[in-house]
């Protein structure tokens, strides 16, 4: 073996990620989700043809980490901003990356209408059942009984309303073609999540309609858990409210085994 090939790079930053250190807490799902999005764009060769919209939430600084064009939107308005971008550049891959508060509380109207218009946009929806950035307030997706700083005794249906399953709601609309819920809690699940993201991007590029991948994502900091306990909580508790799997698939793609 010659010296040149003695060391081969087997792991590094995908091109679609800047070699930057993120500000995410240890054990946070955001960094994994970033990497999956970046790997998919690399594999599709789309880095230079992608425009992204980060949320207002813990991932607000995503433009410091993703190595492609991005524009900040006001809290909740990512899909409206993305609509404007996509209509100007129909040939580009347009994605939004949004937390549960951004997507399913303040941005619910924009979310539903972009999806219902069948905008050819992909949304990566990070569901951590809490408001991370602002310090642990109740999210629209906070599960019943889950404690938040504005639901100190745990979420109760009478007082706080029930957790919202926005992915299933969006599936009702004819504008959406592909919606899948995955989790970021094991190598196996993370692989699955990547596959889903890939499929969503493909469907967008084929012009089929609106696509969304929901990722159940740990927030150890505001759940006040260790990263390991946070994974376990998703696998045992959170999936009861948000079961994993394909919610809608009208792509007609044959899944490769």
């Amino acid at each position: 073996m010659s010296a040149e090939v003695a060391y081969q790079k087997v792991f590094g930053y995908p091109e679609s990620l800047k070699p930057a250190q993120t500000h995410y807490c240890p054990g946070c799902g955001h960094s994994i989700a970033h990497r999956l999005v970046a790997e998919c764009l690399d594999e599709l060769g789309m880095r230079e043809k992608t425009i992204g919209v980060p949320p207002v939430g813990c991932a607000v600084l995503a433009y410091n980490y993703f190595n492609f064009d991005m524009v900040e939107a006001p809290h909740g308005r990512a899909l409206a901003v993305a609509t404007g971008i996509k209509r100007v550049h129909p040939d580009k891959l347009v994605l939004t990356y949004q937390g549960d508060g951004d997507l399913a509380a303040i941005g619910t109207a924009e979310t539903i209408h972009a999806a219902n218009r069948g905008e050819k946009i992909t949304t990566i929806f990070i569901n951590n059942a809490i408001y991370g950035m602002t310090g642990g307030q109740m999210a629209p997706t906070t599960t019943l009984g889950q404690v938040a700083t504005t639901a100190p005794g745990g979420r109760e249906p009478e007082r706080h309303g029930r957790p919202i399953d926005i992915s299933r709601m969006l599936a009702v609309s004819d504008g959406t073609v592909y919606i899948e819920r995955c989790s970021l809690t094991s190598v196996k699940n993370i692989r699955k999540a990547k596959k889903a993201i890939m499929k969503a991007f493909r469907a967008q590029l084929d012009g089929l309609g609106f696509t969304l991948v929901e990722l159940l994502s740990p927030c150890p900091t505001n759940w006040k858990m260790t990263p390991k306990a946070a994974w376990e909580w998703i696998d045992t508790e959170m999936v009861k409210t948000y079961p994993l799997g394909v919610i809608k698939d009208n792509t007609g793609y044959e899944d490769k085994k």
Binding site: T108, P152, G153
Partner: protein
């Protein structure tokens, strides 16, 4: 009975004072740096049989406030700068509908998302309308601590007396700083005066409607003139301000809120160095204490304005003082908090200036 002395952060002071002022309804949406306020009320309101709802957005929350006010309740919401921007539509509607509420703004750096550091760049937003139409929002700018608690009571009373939204303008620093506070006597909501315009079901009376849509231009003109007469009355009766060591002052420092406290320390420093400086601190930003400031700006006194913004209130100072005194300005934007020493430096340069009327130092 007044409360015992409690060490509390500003955001919680607003929450506790609201409960004691008879407010039983709060609708809001999280935003830093005022999350402690909704977090406090999320357990405190249920304790007294009140209602706390974390809405899906600021827009929803101000409209919940509109509903509760129409239904007759003492009600409030709070947010910080970008969130207040979203509430402006509702505030304009409520001004037109003549519905009372209190809106607290713990200001942060802007424009846009800006940052979460304490700033005071929403003066225009608060005092110049923000929403559409010919309306005014009475705006109270306490300097924190005990006054913060007292102004919450004043805010609710103003709102009910004049049937108008009232803005309580603080900043991120005021929300975080802890000081000892003694709360005034609690008010029982049931003891508040009856309101004859609210919606509680028309049993035994003609149905009422609350609206801001008035299609006929002369009728809308009439409505606007009626609102204006109310604003004139507020401007006449509700001006509030405070002064510190102004009697012999050769330089008047004009500042409000947190800036006024930093400036006050600078004034103490100047006095210690033998310069006669004093403070004029508007507490109502609208109505602005124009006349009072104008009367003080005489006898060759200089006027020095200090703001945590690049110059918003200074426009009201210019409107008040006109050519009667030279006006100097020092402003720091972006959530950077100058120390009293920085303000002292500014005041030294203003004192050293030849005092030609109208000259401004921009920093």
């Amino acid at each position: 009975m007044p409360s015992e002395k409690m060490l509390m952060r500003g955001s919680n002071v607003v929450g506790e004072a609201a409960v004691r002022a008879g407010c039983r309804y709060y609708f809001g949406y999280p935003i830093t740096p005022q999350n402690e306020l909704p977090e406090y009320l999320s357990w405190r309101l249920p304790e007294v049989g009140g209602t706390f709802i974390q809405a899906e957005s600021e827009i929803a929350s101000i409209n919940m406030v509109m509903g509760a006010a129409a239904a007759g309740a003492r009600v409030m919401t709070s947010s910080s700068s970008p969130g207040i921007a979203l509430k402006q539509e509702g505030i304009s509607y409520m001004a037109g509908q003549e519905l009372p509420c209190v809106v607290a703004n713990m200001m942060r750096g802007g424009p846009g998302l800006g940052n979460i550091a304490p700033s005071a760049a929403d003066y225009f937003q608060a005092t110049r309308g923000g929403g559409n139409g010919d309306y005014r929002t009475p705006t109270l700018a306490p300097a924190g601590g005990q006054e913060l608690a007292e102004m919450v009571f004043v805010a609710f009373d103003l709102a009910d007396t004049y049937r108008t939204p009232v803005m309580l303008l603080g900043d991120g620093l005021m929300g975080q700083v802890m000081e000892p506070v003694v709360f005034p006597d609690p008010i029982d909501p049931a003891s508040l005066p009856q309101k004859d315009y609210i919606l509680d079901g028309c049993e035994g009376r003609d149905p009422r409607a609350i609206y801001s849509l008035i299609l006929d231009p002369p009728a809308l003109m009439e409505h606007n003139l009626k609102l204006q007469a109310k604003y004139d009355l507020i401007a006449e009766k509700e001006v509030r301000y405070d002064t510190v060591e102004l009697d012999d002052a050769e330089i008047i420092v004009v500042a409000y809120g947190t800036a006024a406290r930093i400036a006050e320390e600078a004034v103490h420093e100047l006095r210690a160095q033998g310069h006669a400086a004093g403070i004029f601190r508007p507490i109502t930003l609208w109505p602005y204490p124009k006349q009072q400031l104008r009367e003080l700006a005489r006898d060759g006194r200089k006027v020095a304005v200090f703001e945590l913004s690049l110059g918003q209130m200074v426009e009201d100072v210019i409107l008040s003082v006109g050519e009667r005194a030279p006006i100097y300005f020092y402003g720091v934007p972006g959530g950077v908090i100058p120390t009293p020493a920085d303000v002292t430096d500014f005041l030294h340069s203003a004192l050293a200036d030849d005092g030609k009327v109208g000259r401004r130092i921009e920093v």
